[in-house]
Symmetry: C2
Subunit: 385 residues, 2 copies
């Protein structure tokens, strides 16, 4: 069983080219992780996800806990076997979904007590339980349980929540160490090489971010995530916090910016030292007909595409762009065909994964800065139509 | 430009093994045509349809007329180019959908006047216009416009509708001959080798069926369809009418049973001389979680599959059965994932197309009768759960 390791192979400014090793293979960084909330990237199949070039996907602990249940998945041999995906998987801890989806939640020092948004049944998610659930799922990277705050929040609220998240991170780590050191009753660990990442909180207060980064690093994780950004703050603030927090984190561990972002965000945050990203934007927008292209975003439902025989993106080599015209994609979208969702998702994810490949190439050739400038120029050439 | 030709290569009882040639390639018969109503087989992509082994798909003239419009499709170079499907396509004439979907329809000798079910706009579908529309779509096989009757209907109503359908068939054929003999103003013919099939009506009255078969054959078409069955009549009546009508039709032309049916119907009607089938059953049932297997139908949402690690059908080699367990397919279905529709559709169509392959092999080896008995035995082993 191979565990987790991370290597930085080249840098260009703060941008880093690297790779991390997991029990299910290598992931090249900077990496984008398509979101497969319920153990499936929406609208497409595992084979399609592989074809986009994705080397790792994200699955949501909250959703899988509620349905079909972590113990059922453990009995299937873990999430990889259950969903038929042989490459790496990262699971979030459920903290953000408890905050954004669950009903009647009560957060105490012990953990989060909430009701399922599906059927109202009660759950208690503690740091220990979040760790156990992810051990049963057997993801390659597990995340600590953190507390997510309703915004706007005062500095005191952010500080108090951040320090609680540090205490929870410590409890998550201790629980993982127990699970690693031997059998724990009732917890069927399905991936012995699972890594665990800490999460830095602190809102837009950089001193709080620094405190969180230092304390979380002191606990010692295989990687570090920046949470609580991309939640509505001005973009320049997001970039500034990312830059300063990233710099504060251990250089020999991967840095993961949670929940970001637009293609521009990926480029801008790689420039600030980020190695990993996840976001629902490419998949959710695809189902709504908003498509990313090398010349900017387009809404495929727009009447101007009704007789457009060209591909969605002449720079793209995905199945959708190789086989279909904008006119046909518009027709499928307007007609409400499920295949519109599939073809659009395939393209948007391909665009994201292709962007990551280009970012990695640019770092390798030490041309990242000129790539970045060119990318931002062409992406802004077309506004959303 | 190759036109249409049909060859019977072997027979076993009334069952026939053959092939027909079209401008977009050869179709082996007996053939099943997946339904791609709006120019797309629901939930899956053209590549997936090809992978099931389908050599021809059906598209609906009514739907494409309403959206995106036959003239728009002609400007794209025809339906094949528009939808990115290089193999043969059969289009129905729109008659059945005018009957089943359109609003405020008024049928006269001239044609069918109706309102779109999408936006209420008015259309007049005459035999000539149905022929023109299909010429613009450029399908490989066009169907004549026939009148479909509300059931139950008296013998007189069926007789009068059947004779009108003969007159309409004659008008369709004459229009096609005009289109073939030279340019017709306003009709951009996108497939010069298009064939046209007549449709036999007459309900369950065999003497009316015979009259329709004789008169329609006398007009002379490249193939003949049996319409107005699979609409609620007892199955033995459907089989009896199919058998007698099939026998009445020219032996050197393909025979197409419209809208049928279950896997058992395919086997039973091949045994009665049918060469072509189309049906929404495999695709529609797939989206509803009802799956066809070599041991009968199953409802994948059933709780008994929650921890079933076996494939949907151990006899099936489709993507779904090769990659996923019943437990995962149930999870996707219960979670409302779009990919459930895609994976289920892929399997059900694969089951249908595989059944057709086994039928053709059995005819070639003159073992069709024992195949038929074995098939019906195993298909009835499991009732729907």
């Amino acid at each position: 069983m191979t565990g987790f390791s991370f290597t930085v192979r080249a840098t260009d400014g703060a941008a880093r080219l690297g790779e991390f090793q997991t029990p299910h293979g290598v992931v090249q960084t900077p990496a984008f992780m398509p979101v497969g909330t319920q153990g499936a990237v929406k609208a497409i199949r595992q084979r399609d996800v592989e074809e986009t070039g994705a080397e790792i996907i994200l699955a949501n602990t909250y959703h899988l806990l509620l349905r079909p249940g972590d113990e059922l998945i453990a009995r299937r041999g873990g999430l990889h076997r259950f969903i038929g995906w042989a490459r790496p998987i990262l699971t979030d801890s459920g903290g953000f979904q408890v905050f954004s989806l669950a009903q009647r939640r009560v957060i105490t020092e012990e953990g989060a007590d909430f009701q399922s948004h599906l059927d109202g049944s009660r759950y208690l998610l503690t740091p220990e339980r979040a760790t156990d659930i992810q051990a049963r799922l057997g993801s390659d990277v597990a995340m600590v349980l953190d507390e997510c705050l309703a915004l706007p929040a005062t500095r005191d609220e952010v500080a108090s929540s951040m320090t609680r998240s540090i205490r929870w991170a410590d409890r998550c780590r201790r629980r993982l160490e127990s699970l690693r050191s031997g059998p724990v009753d009732g917890v069927d660990v399905t991936n012995r090489g699972q890594a665990q990442f800490g999460i830095i909180q602190g809102g837009v207060f950089q001193d709080l971010r620094n405190e969180s980064a230092d304390a979380t690093s002191a606990i010692g994780f295989e990687g570090y995530a920046i949470g609580g950004l991309s939640v509505g703050e001005p973009i320049e603030e997001m970039y500034a916090v990312t830059e300063a927090t990233s710099r504060r984190l251990p250089a020999n561990r991967p840095r993961y910016l949670m929940g970001a972002g637009t293609p521009q965000d990926l480029v801008e945050c790689v420039a600030r030292g980020i190695d990993m990203f996840d976001c629902v934007l490419p998949t959710r927008n695809a189902r709504n007909g908003q498509l990313f292209t090398s010349e900017g975003r387009i809404n495929i439902g727009n009447a101007r595409y009704a007789e457009d025989d060209g591909p969605l993106d002449s720079q793209c080599g995905c199945y959708t762009c190789r086989h279909h015209s904008r006119a046909y994609l518009r027709h499928l979208f307007m007609a409400g065909e499920m295949s519109a969702g599939a073809l659009n998702t395939l393209h948007n994810l391909s665009f994201y994964l292709d962007t990551m490949r280009r970012i990695r190439d640019a770092i390798a050739f030490r041309t990242f800065d000129s790539f970045r400038q060119g990318f931002l120029r062409s992406a802004s050439r077309l506004s959303v139509d």
